[in-house]
Subunit: 374 residues, 2 copies
């Protein structure tokens, strides 16, 4: 195996495949990239137990030669070391050669590195075959589905299924749902009514996929019984699914009859919540909204440090007097995810889950369970 390659394109491929390299590799070969030089170009594969990424550095790009002097072959190289070595080269072109199946010699005419290889046979087989149907989505749609929901997924492994985002296609809608059981985030987009599936994809992997979409317009998605594939550009991402029935997929979980409505400028609400939550330093910041006809206040207090209160001015409130307390982070993340200038908060009652929406976009809903006031 031998080739001369454009440094920036090589590094780009390594960085893409590097998203699959975990800190705790379940198998010593999985700290490595598998490099395959084929007639198509340089194929780079990285994987761990849950995710696999395959990407191609093509022989040429926009009529510009990327790879030359190529002689086919394969090699396994430590992913972190290879990436950092390639990143640090100053030259624009690198020559790469496997010597005695044991060492990769990489050279830019100024620096020379000899990196130890592992036997190629030790790399596991990775099933990247598409099974079942696939469909295409605009990248911007997949980004919206993920970025408006992923923050609500559980970030601990205490209930693995809650670390997933549930993607469900039914009746012409593709819906993403994430919940950590104290809050829920849901976003829908319109799709082909023929499409029908429900899969639980780790939220972390979906976030990685979205970050990798940069520069692509469309992504092809192929969900099947045990995996989901995303292909875009010259990259393919495979994610394992989290088995089990996703909770809270029913539409009934979102209340539809409310007794109180607060319309408020999003950034004023965010600033007030951020300011008063400074006082709570020891645990999840509990912030209280006190709403009545003539005024709406955001406040918090702590026995240790003191109390803070701020009156909101750009508001419209409909309903009786209501006090409701919540985790400041949950409300801030939900409001930011909506990305709108104004938000509407709808309440059923003091201890009932409440809803935050963008009044101009009903495709996203954020549901939050209140906390007890003291």
């Amino acid at each position: 195996m031998r080739f001369t390659i454009n440094k920036d394109q090589f590094l780009k491929g390594l960085v893409i495949a590097g998203h699959a390299i975990g800190n705790k590799a379940p198998n010593h070969a999985l700290v490595c990239f598998k490099l395959d030089l084929t007639s198509r170009g340089l194929e780079i594969t990285g994987s761990d137990a849950v995710i696999a990424i395959w990407t191609l550095v093509p022989n040429s790009l926009n009529d510009k030669e990327i790879i030359r002097n190529a002689s086919q072959g394969a090699a396994l190289l430590n992913a972190h070391v290879l990436t950092e070595v390639v990143r640090k080269f100053e030259g624009t072109e690198l020559s790469f050669e496997i010597i005695d199946n044991a060492v990769a010699k990489i050279d830019d005419g100024k620096s020379t590195f000899k990196l130890n290889c592992m036997p190629v046979a030790e790399y596991p087989e990775i099933d990247l075959e598409r099974t079942g149907n696939s469909f295409n989505l605009m990248c911007s749609d997949l980004k919206a589905l993920v970025s408006q929901t992923a923050f609500a997924a559980l970030d601990k492994e205490t209930r693995p299924i809650l670390t997933a985002i549930n993607l469900k296609a039914e009746a012409g809608k593709l819906t993403a749902t994430a919940t950590d059981s104290a809050r829920l985030s849901r976003k829908s987009i319109s799709v082909d009514p023929e499409l029908r599936f429900s899969v639980n994809v780790p939220a972390k992997i979906l976030t990685d996929v979205v970050n990798l979409l940069e520069g692509s317009d469309e992504v092809e998605i192929a969900p099947s019984a045990d995996k989901i594939l995303f292909s875009f550009g010259t990259t393919l991402v495979r994610s394992s699914l989290i088995p089990g029935e996703y909770p809270a997929v029913s539409n009934n979980i979102i209340p539809s009859n409310f007794n109180y409505y607060l319309d408020v400028n999003a950034s004023q609400l965010l600033n007030a919540v951020d300011r008063v939550s400074v006082l709570v330093t020891d645990r999840a910041s509990v912030v209280k909204l006190s709403m009545s006809d003539d005024q709406v206040e955001v406040s918090s207090s702590s026995d240790q440090t003191g109390s803070g209160v701020e009156r909101l001015t750009t508001i419209q409130y409909t309903g009786e007097r209501l006090d409701i307390a919540f985790n400041a982070l949950f409300v801030s993340q939900a409001v930011r995810a909506l990305g709108s200038e104004d938000v509407r908060m709808s309440f059923v009652g003091e201890m009932k889950p409440f809803v935050i929406r963008n009044p101009k976009d009903d495709s996203v809903v954020e549901l939050i369970t209140p906390m007890r006031t003291r």
Copy 2:
């Protein structure tokens, strides 16, 4: 105690005094700032066991009123909470009032905070009196003394005296020395020949002082038997000294007769060392310089990952063939501290400490003990 104050100037004072607030306060009152409103303005004091900072927010600055509606008094308030609350206010002016000696009410007309106070009597007495002689230094001189040496001080408490920078005035020279026993950094400047003292000041505190000098031209320094005071602008910093005899203060520790000289472009050396040290991921990166008449190479190798080598081009080498190995971080920090385009490395022999200097400035010397090559 009551006052109305310009928010930015209040915050500036809190941030300055905040440099004295440690994560582990040795006394529960020391998590607080002491605020004293006097005829001069608002005095803010922060301290821990080793450092104390006193700063004044004056009543007016450049004919602009900073403090008004003042009624004198004192208060103790949690330093972190007060700073973050003041930082988050949106208004340009804050009103501050102590109520019942128990609560500080702070208001910008929009948000209102009530912060718990501690009894003022619990704050320890802090001796900020100047004893002994003092002298003035340009801030740029103190910055140079500290920034060109502090990195060589020990960053663990295993030998407390090595966490200090020794400041010694003698025979018209003020010399700063820092060493962790494997390397030494020394910088001198000219001072009044009458000046004579030797003190060990924690390197961390000197670095803080240097960071606080921003905006001042001159600093007054008053070293005495048990403390050193730095005053600049409306701020006073007091540091305890580290008792004991500082090692390696003699000039003889720096070799003066060398057998090998390497003159090299600083950034080429830094880049080469940085590049080859990528391979060593498990411990301090050992990098080797191999020097001879016709070529100079920087290299490193690791049984696990492989090897890297780079030939330096912008060099002038004088001497027999020599291989010398060193901690990559030590050489990088020393070369950076010199801040020059070219550096001269002078060697006595393979296992003898070597010296790095700026060939155009003999006021700084960096001494490094080599490591064994394998």
